[in-house]
């Protein structure tokens, strides 16, 4: 005998007695398997049964009746038996069956509804993050320790520099050192230790990696007509670091899983993800708002460091006018008249400060890094 139901009653174990339920014309026959006594069977007419839904997921049919030895409760799960029971049952039970079925439907419906809601909220969150994610991204970024950012940036930085011709000394390095020093002196609370490296390349570009690692190409220095112009670019890049724009882009491109991981505290997995992503750091493009933010805060930083901020604007303008040449910086920093205008307006609003000139002579610096005429056909 293979049992297909569990029967509960006073003399049965609490886990229920396994039994074989058979549906007959006038009622149910319940056979109890027993090792100790002979097989017992009990026949119950349909008229004395009540049915309802029960069990952990309300997916079992609970049949109750008052037997000779007390109250009996039967838990039926086998769909074939339930179907046979339902077909054979007389009319007075069909109402209870309908109620039980209704209850099961209700529970399933509610569960579907709840999961649907959860799914909907989740989807809305994902979409919300995708389109309006700045706040959450900022929260997530604020939870990433600066040390991680530095490690991440450093590994990418070393990796990059290992393939490049780095200028270790000379007037160009000294000039950039002076600019960096004057600007960082204005941000004493910064957790970042800025490292600015000059790389020999005709590429007109400069970039900043998370953690304070900045690279300026000699191509950009050759294009600049004064130290102030380079300082403008440098200030812009430093502010990308200070505003943690790189991290924001990473978090955004890694998406919701990362945000969730950081906000909810699983930070270990993130390091691995970011390491994997380290190579991608160079291809990260900053968003338009981030560029604007870096422009404005960069302008303010120049002002505080008493470096003539108009250099930033003239350099940007000049870069946007000349379309020839390998203007890498432009590809990641699209120039528009509006951008320059905004900077001019901002500059006009700032209190006038008399700028202090740099100690180096820009023409000499440029001479030290090679010919001044970079004409790329």
């Amino acid at each position: 005998m293979i049992p297909n139901a569990l029967c509960f009653g006073d003399e049965f174990p609490a886990a229920g007695a396994p039994c074989l339920v058979q549906v007959e014309e006038h009622g149910l026959t319940v056979n109890f398997a027993s090792d100790t006594t002979d097989d017992q069977s009990e026949s119950v007419p349909f008229s004395s049964l009540t049915v309802s839904a029960g069990g952990l997921d309300h997916d079992q049919l609970v049949v109750k009746w008052a037997g000779q030895k007390g109250e009996r409760t039967l838990y039926l799960k086998n769909p074939d038996v339930i179907r046979a029971f339902r077909q054979a049952a007389p009319d007075q039970l069909s109402h209870s069956f309908e109620q039980a079925a209704e209850r099961v439907r209700q529970v399933r419906h509610r569960s579907r509804l709840v999961w649907g809601l959860v799914g909907g909220v989740f989807l809305a969150t994902v979409l919300g993050l995708w389109f309006q994610s700045d706040l959450l991204v900022e929260i997530a970024v604020s939870r990433i320790p600066v040390e991680w950012e530095q490690k991440l940036g450093e590994s990418a930085y070393r990796d990059f520099l290992s393939h490049q011709e780095v200028m270790k000394e000379g007037p160009a390095v000294a000039a950039l050192g002076e600019m960096t020093q004057r600007m960082t002196a204005q941000i004493p609370d910064s957790p970042y230790k800025f490292e600015v490296t000059v790389v020999k390349s005709d590429v007109v570009n400069a970039f900043a990696l998370p953690g304070g690692y900045v690279v300026v190409f000699t191509g950009l220095m050759k294009k600049a007509e004064s130290g102030e112009e380079v300082a403008g670019v440098l200030s812009h890049e430093l502010n990308h670091v200070l505003q943690r724009h790189g991290l924001e882009r990473i978090v955004k491109s890694l998406g919701i899983m990362t945000v969730a991981a950081i906000v909810f505290g699983n930070q270990q997995g993130l390091v691995g993800m970011m390491k994997q992503l380290g190579v991608e750091l160079f291809t990260l493009k900053f968003g338009r708002e981030q560029e604007t933010e870096a422009d404005l805060t960069g302008l303010q930083l120049l002002q505080r460091a008493k470096i003539d901020p108009s250099g930033m604007i003239t350099f940007f303008e000049r870069l946007s006018e000349k379309d020839e040449g390998r203007m890498e910086w432009l590809s990641t920093h699209p120039m528009s008249a509006a951008r320059a205008d905004r900077l001019k307006a901002e500059l006009a609003a700032l209190p006038k400060k008399s700028p202090e000139p740099f100690t180096f002579d820009w023409k000499q610096v440029q001479a030290s890094i090679g010919s001044q005429t970079v004409v790329v056909p």
Partner: protein, 227 residues
């Protein structure tokens, strides 16, 4: 498969006697010692996707061990990771148990282990997570607990309230609701209970006498912090 609990109490082991050709499944890493006639295989119960879902959803191990008496009869000693009692249940093919993810130690090859998703409130507040193991079939099932195992027997419609982190296993004929321990939200948490499960019979509920989460929090204060 014959099994016997050795050293009942906090640090028990199970000795399982296997006839030639017989095999059992056990939690990965549960084997302590065995006869040379027994081969240990790792097996992804329920196929790759089943194992994957079990690993990620219930936090259970990806692989179960299969101990196979392939070269003649033999015995194996099995033990859980945490100190605590072991209980042996006989499944008769009709009984089904829901087992929280750390509760499974071993079982006969004939039992069926599935990951099952719980409802939202149970998953969120029940303390076992969204996924639990549903164990059915016919054969021996060995569960382990943190602390002692206590069996609660519920008659039809009899109710009992259990702190959610003390649950080990419960039969599928029971049902439960998650409730606050006391009527007020604040009192519910200051009483140290938070959420409780109100079980309704008939069926069995196995609970453990210690709460792993609280124990972890307690022991953390003694772990020296680096730096």
């Amino acid at each position: 498969m014959k099994s016997e609990i050795l050293y009942p109490g906090a640090f028990p082991m199970v000795r399982v006697d296997l006839a030639a050709g017989e095999n059992i499944k056990a939690e990965s890493g549960a084997m302590v010692a065995c006869s040379p006639t027994i081969d240990i295989e790792s097996k992804m119960e329920g196929g790759f996707l089943g194992a994957l879902s079990r690993k990620f959803l219930t936090g259970e191990k990806f692989f179960f061990q299969t101990l196979r008496a392939s070269r003649g009869p033999g015995e194996a000693l099995l033990a859980p990771t945490v100190p605590g009692e072991i209980v042996i249940l006989e499944l008769d093919g009709v009984n089904e148990y829901m087992v929280q993810k750390d509760g499974f130690l071993a079982g006969a090859d004939t039992i069926v282990i599935e990951s099952k998703m719980q409802g939202l409130s149970r998953g969120l507040l029940g303390g076992e997570g969204f996924f639990i193991l549903k164990i059915s079939g016919k054969g021996t099932l060995v569960l382990n607990s943190f602390g002692a195992i206590h069996k609660i027997e519920l008659k039809p419609d009899q109710e009992y309230i259990v702190d959610n982190s003390h649950l080990v296993a419960w039969s599928s004929t029971t049902s439960y609701n998650i409730e606050k321990a006391t009527s007020g939200w604040v009192a519910s948490f200051t009483s140290g209970e938070g959420f409780v499960c109100r079980f309704r019979g008939p069926g069995l509920v196995y609970i453990q006498s210690r709460n792993p989460g609280s124990f972890g929090a307690w022991i953390r204060q003694f772990i020296p912090v680096s730096e």
